[in-house]
Symmetry: C2
Subunit: 574 residues, 2 copies
């Protein structure tokens, strides 16, 4: 009956029979139905907009000279890339006007399976921020990986019953779709049956293959890098998510997708965004700002950043400023530079002039106390189990081992032949991937060239996609030391020299995230990176990000997993 | 597993690994995502479009010089207005390119409640045509009515579980919404909870009242009669259904709603369309044709007639020509005149040059044999139960009775004072409304002026909204004869003179519809109307339609129900 009475109260406030709780007076606002700016008092009651026109409120805020636009929605991202917890992520992006995100918890699911997903849902339940999830479609990413969990179509089906789970996340296994892989098609089938969404990931797919991928049911793409590619996908009925994050920056190439009428089928996404860039340049607001600077009509860019996402994801009362819509509002001091004056979530001001209002978001501050959450914390902060790793496990099984070559500024690798021992003088160091989910003692061993390390070891538990421990070292003892320290920290990044920890960043949540503000995390990250550089890591190589991709067996040429070296082009273990 | 294997086969056909079942070669087609016409081979397999490009098919049809557009969807109508069965309705509109309709079974629900709704769902299950339903929101229409059934919010909730039930039909009781009527809000509540649609009906509603109506959850309107009214509703977030039927013709006034960008939020609907006009001018194709003639961009009109409806009703794989969409296609010989060459439903040609292909729609021909359907027929064709009506029940209870005045060309009525007896010379005849659902013997008696009848009686079981028997007569014996004949026919329209049936049209399905082709029904209708005219019914008065509205107690000024005369402005029985 609560929601029944609430509806009654909202109707009365809309009629003007009672004062609305909040009225934004004399606002110029974006009307996403007429694609134009209109003017009026925006009346908000019980978290919802109840009317626009002439209204009185318990609280009234003058909006003269400001522009009010719908709260931004990031339609596709992996929040683990920020290496902060979901709550800290919300803290970071709310002042930038992002009031909802659709996250693919692919990384934490590779570590913790459904426990990781449950943790994200539970830990964000009471936030003045909406985190929707798409069910990771490819866990593990390949059969050469030892991940912490496997997500089957049965699990996908179960989780699709949850209101905040909107569909199946980016289907990276497009060869599996085109080849009619049984389990892949079943995941698609259960999602379509629930009438939920299926996100795509198919860079460069075209023609008959693209038709087949879409026929299978995949309804969006965020991997377009050219106008031509995006237009073909859009013409075939896919929604286009224009990506502008840390790794992928496609906005400039796709700017004309924001022309009429194409913008109506476009959204804006960050995909992956690191803490430094989040703190410095912002989030979806940054994409809108850049789009306008590149010549996009502000109406088009703002609509792609809000209403279009709500429409794609079938979120009926989100993304617009109109009666019946949730009052997620961004007040702009200047439209063209997207200068954010204030952010309202469900009618409550949560941020002013870029600063989070702590009292409006109490759940985000202080220690997490909620019982259930504590339970999840125990599970999610206890994921690094290597067993006892001995020196001999770091030795080659054969006489010689493959040498994986790094390329500055790229994440692809090269085949640099074979070596029999570490030789930092010749830029050949050891690379190990240590299974850390089930304490199997599996260690993949190879050599690495092009990293530049002269002494010590660098290690991380952020290692795509299975997130085992990856460690590069000039010295086996330092490698062992780094592995042990990561187990003590329950995940993170460490730099070791002569048995001494030079710097470290603990990432205890699944070995991927920590519960610190992004600014603080960035400072610590700068320190561990500097320490790695002090041991010789080359310029042009990100000491941790580059390492973290050397275990992802879907990008050519050679990768190392806990099971050994994978030749990606041949799709086989060497 | 059937649908799993089907998906596999469709993927293979999309890849070109096997021939598609049907390819429309070299087609110019409407792309609703780019709002433009494009060219390619449209490959269809297993009822779905699997690709557009260069394809080979088991069957190939050359489309050179033709334009292919998505099948039309009528977003709001009462199919009972056609006075033919759902199957006959499908027969009538398929050759006009309508491949799906969203019907509000308001009339049959007033007679039969859920049995009527079950009948429509069951009798249309196997058709090459889609009938979706919205749950009638106002049964009975008012408390002065004796309807055959009552639909509560519990019933609405139950029926919303069905896939083909898309939401709550036009909420005519907008005063009930604004006044927060408990039962009305509960119907809204259960629909929103199911994330289904809520159609509106609020002619002229504006300002705060409109905000309140939309805040309550109502998301569309089909009652707009001016550009200004439609623009206000659209700006507030409602979808606009542009109506062009037999009774309401709003297209000309609303033609600029089809300008960009507004057309993206518009649909086309017939609401009520009589058999004659259906047969003569067509259905949604007629609205598109007229819109183009009035200056609308064909792309906009065609999209309003197809994709927009699918989007509003959340029908994911309908309304577009793209991979993954159901192959509901209309082939136009000429775009601007919407000259229909052929109609495909789920990839099967069902009509060619305006003629239904009988072999493609076998379920539509011959007798209905299906067992379950037979069961429904028994229920739905046995709805006229008056008990035994005697002459004295046709007498006034008081000395004098109200005289209801008809106005040529209108459905509103006037108060013409009182009379004590029938006097055809003075144009005063008797009007009776006889309860026919539960054989209560209730008969409302009054007088009618302006109808013109000089002798005999005219009667019908189509009598809005409760569909009791309404009969106008110059002679009580003829009135009785007409009532008895309607009971024998189990509904319909009859004209009686001197105890003899001059003409009749049986409508045995709920007393509202018959199982004959619209052309045949129209011929019979012309005969009964001519018979009524022969008894004196005035020009400017439709002998049956005008009668059928004299019992609808929501239109001023006086109406007659089984309970007596209602003063609509005072909303009370006299």
């Amino acid at each position: 009956m609560k929601s029944f009475d609430q509806r009654k109260e909202r109707i009365k406030a809309a009629l003007g029979e009672k004062k609305a709780e909040l009225v934004l007076k004399n606002a110029e606002y974006l009307n996403v139905f007429t694609n134009s700016f209109m003017r009026g008092d925006i009346a908000v009651h019980d978290g919802y907009i109840v009317g626009i026109g002439s209204y009185e409120g318990e609280e009234e805020v003058d909006m003269t000279g400001k522009t009010v636009v719908p709260g931004f929605i990031d339609s596709h991202l992996h929040l683990e890339s920020s290496i902060v917890s979901p709550r800290q992520y919300a803290r970071a992006v709310l002042p930038h006007g992002t009031t909802a995100i659709v996250a693919d918890p692919h990384e934490i699911a590779n570590v913790l399976g459904t426990t990781g997903i449950d943790y994200i849902l539970a830990s964000t339940r009471k936030l003045p921020f909406e985190i929707y999830l798409m069910m990771p479609s490819c866990v593990p990413a390949t059969c050469f990986d030892e991940s912490g969990a496997v997500l089957t179509h049965e699990t996908v089906r179960e989780y699709l019953k949850k209101e905040r789970v909107l569909g199946l996340a980016e289907m990276m296994n497009y060869p599996g779709v085109l080849g009619c892989d049984q389990e892949v098609l079943k995941k698609i089938q259960v999602t379509m049956k629930k009438n939920k969404l299926l996100d795509g990931h198919a860079p460069g797919l075209t023609g008959h293959s693209l038709n087949a991928y879409i026929t299978a049911g995949i309804s969006s793409d965020h991997e377009c890098t050219t106008q031509e590619e995006a237009m073909e996908k859009l013409s075939c009925g896919q929604w286009i998510m224009i990506r502008e994050g840390t790794a992928g920056k496609n906005l400039e190439k796709l700017i004309h997708l924001l022309d009429a009428p194409y913008f109506e089928r476009c959204m804006l996404v960050t995909d992956d965004k690191h803490p430094g860039e989040l703190a410095e340049e912002g989030h979806v607001d940054h994409i809108v700002r850049k789009a306008i600077r590149l010549g996009a009509d502000p109406v088009h860019a703002l609509k792609a950043a809000s209403y279009n996402a709500a429409r794609y994801f079938q979120l009926r009362s989100r993304g617009a400023i109109a009666p019946g819509y949730q009052a997620d509002l961004v007040v702009l001091a200047d439209l063209n530079t997207v200068q954010i004056e204030a952010v309202y979530k469900r009618g409550v001001c949560v941020s002013r002039k870029g600063k989070l209002l702590e009292q409006a978001v109490p759940e985000l501050t202080g220690n997490i106390s909620d019982e259930e959450l504590e339970l999840y914390r125990k599970k999610v902060c206890n994921t690094v189990k290597t067993g006892k790793i001995h020196r001999k496990q770091l030795q080659l099984k054969q006489e010689k081992g493959k040498v994986i070559g790094l390329v500055p500024g790229e994440i692809l690798t090269t085949d640099q032949g074979e070596a029999s021992e570490t030789d930092p003088e010749k830029d050949i160091i050891k690379l190990c991937v240590v299974e850390r989910h089930h304490a199997t003692g599996h260690v993949g061993v190879a050599f690495l060239k092009g990293y530049g390390l002269k002494r010590g070891a660098v290690a991380t538990t952020v290692a795509h996609d299975s997130h085992n421990i990856i460690v590069a070292g000039a010295d086996d003892e330092d490698i062992l030391c780094a592995i042990r320290r990561l187990e003590e920290l329950q995940g993170g990044m460490v730099v070791v020299e002569n048995g001494k920890i030079l710097e470290e960043l603990a990432l205890p949540i699944a070995g991927l995230m920590c519960d610190l503000p992004v600014e603080e995390v960035q400072q610590k990250l700068d320190l561990v990176k500097a320490a790695a550089r002090s041991l010789g890591v080359n310029e042009g190589i990100d000491p941790f990000m580059t390492l973290s991709f050397t275990s992802l067996p879907v990008i050519p040429k050679l990768r190392l997993t806990t099971l050994g070296v994978v030749d990606v082009e041949r799709f086989s273990l060497i």
